[in-house]
Amino acid sequence: MMDTQLVMYEEDYKKILGVIQRLVRDANSKGVFVVDKNGQLIAEAGEVRGIDTTSLASLTAGSIAATGGLAKIIGEEDFPVHFHQGARDNLHITLVGGRIILVVVFDDRSSLGLVRLRVKKAGGEMAKIFEEIQKKAESEAAQGSPGSPFAEITDDDIDNLFSD
């Protein structure tokens, strides 16, 4: 099935940010990222300065896609949880609701057990938020999404982007 377009409003963003800011604290982690399965960064919280977040999002999505392909080869639907251990920092990656990826960066101030536990709770909340976003998108699509900024653009607007 084809995905519907992802549209995120300010109030959705605030809800997502609330969940991941709490996750940063509860899991004692360095940073948390929310990434769309197609590689778009949706939100971030914690100590994320110096991290190339666009690349992080794209590579996370690529990694989830590749391991998802591997899962299917051995008869699994997906591998929803990944853990990468480094010398200092570690990555805990979870697929939420089949569409959203939750990435937690943590070091030895936390532990895999704690991160796992907190991610489980946050993941449930996140899945609910994205279900709502999805429902909203579907009902707007049915009405022809009158609020879309693209309903009003003209060919000139598009040409102007390339006027240099």
């Binding site: 896609a65 693209f150 009003e152 598009i158 390339f162």
Partner: protein
Amino acid sequence: MSFINYSSREINCKIVYYGPGLCGKTTNLQFIYNKTNPDLKGKMISLATETERTLFFDFLPLALGQIRGFKTRFHLYTVPGQVFYDASRKLILKGVDGVVFVADSQIERMEANLESIDNLKVNLREQGYELEKIPFVVQYNKRDLPNSAPLDEMRRQINTLGVPEFEACATTGQGVFETLKAVAKSVLSDLKRLSR
């Protein structure tokens, strides 16, 4: 699928460069990367083998400017062209908003071009897309080579849908930005159409 973020007032779209092995997909992205203002681009990522053949994908994030107060960002991806990397190609097509097919103009690569475009159609269909319905442009690359096939012949075999097409030489950059602009325009026009 594009991602419209009202919170940061951004719109993100995904464009995939497709084509047979060694046709110049990565070279297209490298040229765009080298010629773009540093403020408008992110880091280019190449997941390649030691011999610089694309293993999984190349990725280049690009900002194009604003439309009605929304920043437009394009994420450019290439697929690995070699036949045996088909599983990876399928993954990269997920969520695509527009496709550039880079054809290798060398006469001995015609067969590979046709095989690749068939493969594109099959892989898109698996994701629930149809090539006829998504923003799509064709680039005839390596036009500078002496063994390039006549343009009419390539057009007849490759551009059966009659989409915008460009002659290019990705190493010198000829036709590279024209191709990108055409696909970006087509993606934005499609967004406009869908939101009506």
